[in-house]
């Protein structure tokens, strides 16, 4: 279960796609890292592009309990237009007709509702354009 503290810590990535860009070699990490492959430890925060292309995906038909009402749904790997890849749910589409190469955009959506009385968790999902 998502606790308010854990959810809150991930807000910069979940809400604004904040990535870490190495100030020495320019490599961008999402989520951000402490040390770059080049060994440098200095990063600048950048916001990723909100459009990209679906690289691959899988359809979840037997979902974990908190997502059972959403099945079947697609989880994809999307390459954003700045070259960074991320994993996201692909929504507002017919999963039987989804195709690799589909252009998508990132939208702000509700990711999870914690029970009847818990917090509402928001973040990014991808939708076909």
């Amino acid at each position: 279960m998502v606790t308010p503290a854990r959810y809150w810590r991930e807000i910069p990535q979940r809400y604004r796609l904040e990535a870490g860009k190495c100030t020495r070699c320019g490599k961008t990490y999402f989520p951000p890292r402490l040390v770059c492959a080049c060994g440098a430890r200095e990063f600048e925060i950048v916001r990723l592009k909100d459009e990209g292309t679906l690289q691959t995906f899988t359809v979840i038909r037997v979902a974990p309990s908190q997502f059972v009402d959403e099945a079947p749904y697609a989880i994809g790997i999307v390459e954003l237009n700045d070259g960074v890849r991320l994993t996201a749910q692909v929504v507002d589409c017919d999963v039987e007709h989804l195709e690799i190469g589909q252009k998508v955009k990132v939208e702000f959506r509700r990711i999870q509702t914690v029970g009847e009385a818990g917090i509402l968790c928001y973040g990014y999902k991808c939708v076909p354009v």
């Binding site: 807000i11 702000f108 959506r109 928001y122």
Partner: protein, 349 residues
């Protein structure tokens, strides 16, 4: 001079037709379509709410404004469907846009008038010089009780406006408010669906307050209906805004560009503000626009805008409202719609 610097709308892809709802309740679809002048309405996906649509509409407004979100000094969201009963919507939206932490946020509520209230207040903040830019949003994912007349209209959508003093696309020339205590529509604490006073929602409520507001602001501005290129009135159904426009002396052509309701439904706090976005999409420099919102309870906020040259530069920077309305639609059957809207729920162990 103070005015709109950027504007944007957002609506979900899903739609349900009047026939599909009427079929379930044994109602006569043609008479609903004629009587209410409604064809279909938007329906949010299960992962969409007032907060998510506010973020998307605001992103469109930011693109047109061309400003750094850190320059936004206030974020006001008007809605009658804030996702939390206690916990602001504004903090999530401001955080998602990157406007925190130097920003004032507040959630407004006044039935369908909450969106224009945010516009009214943010405008004063900018005018007073307290902030450089302010964001006002009207958004709702409203619900009508199953089978109630409201179910044919209650839909989802959002409109966002960034106000400022520089690079204005439409100046605000005058504002006006007209309000009385009128119990035409309400929802009590812990009740899921709102109640309304049926026919009482017409003459003493909608028509009295919008005509009061429109006549008041035109008198103050010494303007007549023919001085305006366009007028937008709150759209609870297709019929009311056309009728109130006629009562006031406006022609159908002045109202039609912002008249989204036949295909969109009533987006409550988003209603007249979304009509304004569609009107700005087609307006030309120099056009005068009148907007009068309506919120049950009851009141109407009036605005007179003058479109500037900058409109031509910005309108293509984000999706146009009518393009979103007419393309990429996904029609739902009543069962899926009922599931999406939480009207039916699966048993949980």
């Amino acid at each position: 001079m103070v005015g709109i610097v950027g504007y944007g709308a957002y609506m979900p892809r899903n739609r349900i037709r009047v026939e599909e709802i009427a079929k379930v309740w044994g109602a006569d679809a043609p008479s609903y379509k004629r009587g209410l002048m409604l064809e279909e309405k938007s329906v949010p996906s299960p992962d969409q709410d007032t907060i998510t649509m506010s973020v998307e509409a605001s992103k469109h407004a930011l693109r047109r404004a061309g400003i750094d979100p850190q320059e936004i000094g206030a974020v006001y969201i008007g809605s009658e469907s804030h996702p939390y009963a206690v916990k602001p919507s504004g903090t999530v939206v401001a955080e998602a846009l990157g406007a925190t932490p130097e920003v004032h946020t507040a959630d407004f509520e006044f039935a369908c008038k909450a969106g224009s209230e945010g516009m009214y207040v943010v405008l004063s903040q900018v005018e007073a010089g307290h902030i450089s830019y302010g964001l006002a949003i009207g958004a709702d994912t409203s619900q009508g009780a199953p089978g109630d007349a409201l179910e044919y209209a209650a839909s989802a959508g959002a409109a966002a406006f960034i106000f400022g003093k520089q690079n204005i696309v439409a100046s605000v020339d005058l504002t006006y408010a007209f309000m009385t205590d009128t119990p035409d529509f309400w929802r009590r604490e812990y009740q899921y669906y709102p109640r309304h006073a049926s026919r009482f929602t017409g003459e003493p409520a909608y028509f009295k307050h919008i005509t009061g507001c429109a006549r008041g602001i035109m008198e103050k501005a010494q303007m007549k209906p023919e001085d305006f290129a366009y007028a937008i009135f709150h759209q609870p159904n297709g019929k009311f805004p056309m009728r109130v426009g006629k009562m006031l002396g406006f022609k159908r052509e002045q109202i039609e560009p912002g008249w989204l309701v036949p295909k969109l439904g009533n987006t409550y706090s988003g209603s007249s503000p979304m009509g304004l976005t569609a009107t700005l999409d087609i307006a030309v420099p120099g056009d005068k626009i009148l907007m009068c919102s309506y919120g049950s309870g009851a009141g109407s906020d009036g605005f007179i805008f003058t479109v500037t040259d900058r409109i031509e530069e910005v309108r293509d920077m984000a999706p146009k409202t009518r393009v979103m309305l007419d393309s990429n639609k996904n029609y739902l059957e009543y069962g899926t719609y009922a599931k999406f809207r939480g009207k039916i729920n699966k048993i949980t162990e």
